[in-house]
Amino acid sequence: MTTSNSTDKKPTAAELHPDAFDVIVIGGGHAGCEAALAAARLGATTLLLTQSIDTIGQMSCNPAIGGIGKSHLVREIDALGGMMARVTDKAGIQFRVLNARKGPAVRATRAQADRVLYRNAARVAIEAQPNLQMFQQSVTDLEVTNDRVTGVVTQMGLTFRAAAVVLTTGTFLGGKIHIGMQRHQGGRAGDAPSNALADRLRALPLNVGRLKTGTPPRIDARSVDFTVMGQQPGDEPRPTMSKFSTPADHPRQVPCYITYTNETTHNIIRGGLDRSPLYSGKIEGTGPRYCPSIEDKVMRFADRNEHQIFVEPEGLDANELYPNGISTSLPFDVQMQFVRSIKGFENAHITRPGYAIEYDYFDPRDLQYSLETKVIEGLYFAGQINGTTGYEEAAAQGLMAGANAALKIAGKGIWCPRRDEAYIGVLVDDLINLGTNEPYRMFTSRAEYRLRLREDNADLRLTQQGYDLGLVSEEQYATFKRERATVDAITAHLKKQHLRPGSDMAAALSAATGEHISKDQSSTDYLKRPKVTAIALQPLLAELDLSEAKEAGVDLDAALTQAGVEIKYEGYIKRQDLEIDRVKRHESIRIPASLDYATIEGLSNELREKLLATKPASLAKAARVPGITPAALSLLMVHAQKHAKNPKKVPGNAATEEQESTSRGEQHQG
């Protein structure tokens, strides 16, 4: 504990090495990188402290970025000036569009990444960022005075000061690795756990739990027979992850392969269960339901006689393969046996055993929308330590926490997009209100406004906000404005076009789409037919002058496609607008921090406790408290109003509390 000896004169390296920063980020994983970059973009002098500079941007598990729900997050990070999408484009060795045959809202880009290229690109991005320094040291302690963080102490005893600290230590806190009945401490294979820091954090008044995740054994590609497996090439035309990349930014592309487990595999696995840490009760942490180990799949879906495995290259120059689908913590001898029972893997050589890891996470319900802890001022949490899983989820939180840490230093209010604005908003809102009891992963089904939270319009939803905050560069903003104007012009033009049966235009369009025009209709109605694509309406743009946009480099096809998507979803989105308006109005009804819930008749005890614990700042936030009823909301509203009319009646110094609640609660929202 350093709370007490923080006044001691420690031999700091102050003279030689700066030791005071605006924002310190602990951990150079996916959350840490975006956090450090975001804070620095907002002008905060930022220090990134991490165990090893060589593992900055390391992918602990699956070498892939994106996928459904996740790519949506990555696009949002991109729209807010973050690095993940651009780094993925520099490292991606196979790109696909998932759900290509479904609608645009649920289409998602997924990239297989070369681990080494990814790490390098991430490091380049960090090193190129002004205001940002890195330092390689493990953090062992936090300095806390009067419930306010003031700095951190490293393994060597160095102290760094900052009024805002963002913690992003991933699976490292109290990390315990299991392979069969053997276990050892570790943050991920090959890295030491953070135990001193974990102990220190456990002493803070925060709720801690244990979660578990796993990874499959890796296999030497030279020992695998690909000829008996299905081949899965990337998509053509090849998508990019970032709006600002082109396929030319991509390295060489390679295919993935598909194989399957079989009954023999399953029998071997069943035979090894008595030595499984999962099935013998050695693991107490909860694993994700959607990412079960192969032993779980075999047990829970006993009627399936095969399970699919995606065989993914770990990199262009690496011979290691990542067999996606057989995460396991069975003993190594069982792993070897069952791997070799799989088609194509008969002679497979395992390069690294699969394992399960258990780690500490903090109940995210102890956080505010800014991801600042409620109990320690200036301390922010992001990434896996908040109970999430996945690089994208971690990165999104990192960006939020880093930005909010810098905003706080600058004396500004909290920023968090709403649920109807971004998956980032859904993620944070779910976490801090509902908590999680398994590693939380993003799915599109978590977003009630799924139709508007699309990959294609992430910039439209967020870039203006990002620019206003200072997260987005002038250059990116200018591009955004140009594209926006183009899309608007196209939309307005399409809305004016009428299609008449028998006209040349109608004939041409019908021929192109196979959809007949039998009565007079607007081009937008025609576009709402499922088989009519926006691109097919290109001829309608003949009279629209887009030369300026074209010269400025706007991708006209993309603009037309986006205009088309918006028109196709128009009706649905309008219906949601009503709901969203209501949320916005609720946002404007502030609930004073000093509201005495105990005196409100008619709230159930359970609800009262939940409200007391969350202290929602607005009616909209209160509406997110689980178990809240419309009647309870009405009561809150009436009492909030009453309180506002007559604050003097409230015991304690109401005036200062009012002040605090407005300055704290004020939000930047777009």
Binding site: N99, S445, E448, E601
Partner: protein, 475 residues
């Protein structure tokens, strides 16, 4: 899905029946909010609704069918009860008509008000002073408690079972669709699958059935049809007169007095019912009486509730009821608000006569029996309460205050069912027209949210849980 369902003072226009519950006479429907006047103009087909002026007018539904006529009075804000634009429509107070008016307003863009919401808006718009705040809070509190209880009552019995079944099927359907969207690598290519369309068609049929049955259930609480039946001379007409509190039917000691149906509209503790007296059932050569008997049997088979009467002093009349029960069949299509096994109640009449007290009930038959005396009036109060409880689900049987609430809870449920049906039908057309899975999913989500407002929200997490236990997902 978790979505902020709650609403507060905002741009919504709200509507509700505003007349005091349980009292007949006039019925008032109140609208408040920015569109109140526009909606009222559409209902009344009046171009102008001058402020504070009682316009005598017709009330029409969206198609122009006249529902009722009465007064429409506009109170433009801010000088109104709520501070917003308010319109009151005063009609004939029949709950069916009031319901139709509320539904029409909803179709025209208004939303059903929450309990206490008019007062809440009044308070929030500064129409009440601080001292009244507590009162408003209490009101919201009390009203929401009462309506919660009413909702629970409405959700009893068959209705709840049907609703839960519906919700479960819908979850299973959504599991398929959502899984196909979120896990495309898992080969869950479903929308085209005949299973999905069949499931959807089946669901739509189920919802529509529940809507029809619930609607007649709502009618039941408003104007249930009760039919008296039994052997001649057991006192059926006397029972009717007792229940009416007036001599409406001819009573004599001659068997075969009543020849035709006698219909009476009356209120049992404020609950409107239609009570029908019939000719005593017996074989007869008299053509007129025989026709009466035929009508009596027909009426019984169409009754919401049959009151089978026998004479305690006449064992043959009891035997008659016993035999009649064996052969009596009805197609009970309505859903009672209460759990009842049969829609026959046996009335053992003439308890004032010196009869064998042990001679009780119908062992082995699941019918309720009541021992009364039409002559002395003994036990009629209990009988009335019992009937009210059966018809409204209100355990106190007093009928006071509960009718409106149970009724409005049920009609809220019906609105939700209607919306759910729309969502399902839209999902079906999205599939047939070849729209993307995400649009099908959107309609289904909408349907589920509506059902959720009746039988409990299905959270995303629960849905995901179902997905993970139904499919082996994940790499």
């Amino acid at each position: 899905m978790t979505s902020p369902q709650a609403t507060t003072t905002d741009s919504d226009t709200i509507v509700a029946v505003a007349s005091a519950p349980g009292r007949g006479g006039v019925g008032v429907v109140r609208l408040s909010g920015p569109d109140a006047i526009v909606v009222a103009q559409k209902i009344t087909r009046l171009r102008e609704l001058p402020a504070r002026f009682a316009n005598y007018t017709k009330f029409c539904d969206v198609d122009g069918t006249v529902l009722d006529s009465g007064l429409a009075i506009a109170f433009p804000g801010p000088a109104s009860f709520t501070g917003e634009d308010v319109v009151e429509l005063q009609g004939h107070g029949s709950p069916i008509m009031l319901d139709a008016l509320v539904r029409t307003a909803i179709k025209l863009g208004a939303r059903m008000a929450r309990p206490g919401e008019f007062s809440e808006r009044a308070y929030l718009n500064g129409k009440m002073d601080l001292a009244q705040a507590e009162a408003v809070a209490d009101l919201i509190n009390a009203a929401s408690e009462a309506s919660a209880k009413a909702a629970v009552r409405s959700l009893q019995g068959d209705f709840s079972r049907l609703m839960n079944g519906l919700s479960e099927t819908l979850v299973r359907l959504r599991v398929q669709v959502e899984a196909a969207i979120d896990f495309p690598d898992e080969d869950i290519e479903l929308l085209a699958a005949p299973g999905i369309t069949a499931m959807l068609a089946d669901l739509i049929e189920q919802v529509e059935q529940i809507i029809t049955r619930t609607r007649s259930g709502v009618r039941l609480t408003e104007g249930a049809r009760l039919v008296l039946i039994g052997a001649p001379n057991v006192g059926k007409s006397s029972v009717l007169n007792r229940l009416c509190g007036e001599d409406r039917a001819i009573v004599t000691d001659i068997a075969g007095t009543t020849r035709d149906l006698v219909r009476e509209q009356l209120q049992l503790n404020g609950i409107p019912v239609e009570l029908i007296d019939t000719a005593g059932l017996r074989d007869t050569n008299d053509a007129i009486e025989a026709e009466g008997v035929r009508r009596a049997r027909a009426a019984a088979s169409e009754a919401d509730l049959v009151l089978a009467v026998y004479d305690l002093a006449d064992p043959s009349s009891k035997e008659f009821i016993e035999n009649w029960l064996e052969e009596f069949q009805t197609e009970r299509s309505v859903i009672f608000p209460t759990e009842i096994k049969s829609n026959v109640i046996v009335i053992e009449n003439k308890s004032d006569l010196d009869v064998d007290a042990e001679n009780k009930g119908f062992p082995g038959k699941q019918v309720l029996t009541y021992r009364v005396s039409a002559k002395s009036g003994a036990n009629f109060e209990e009988l009335t309460e019992q009937l009210v409880e059966l018809l409204t689900g209100d355990e106190s049987g007093s009928g006071i205050g509960t009718r409106e609430q149970t009724y409005s809870a049920r009609s809220r449920h019906l609105l939700a069912l209607d919306e759910a049906a729309t969502g399902l039908v839209d999902a079906q057309s999205a599939i047939t027209e070849g729209h993307g899975a995400e649009l099908v999913a959107e309609h289904l989500r909408h349907a589920q949210a509506e059902l959720g407002s009746v039988c409990g929200e299905i959270t995303t997490d629960a849905l995901l849980g179902e997905i993970f236990s139904s499919f082996c997902i994940g790499k």
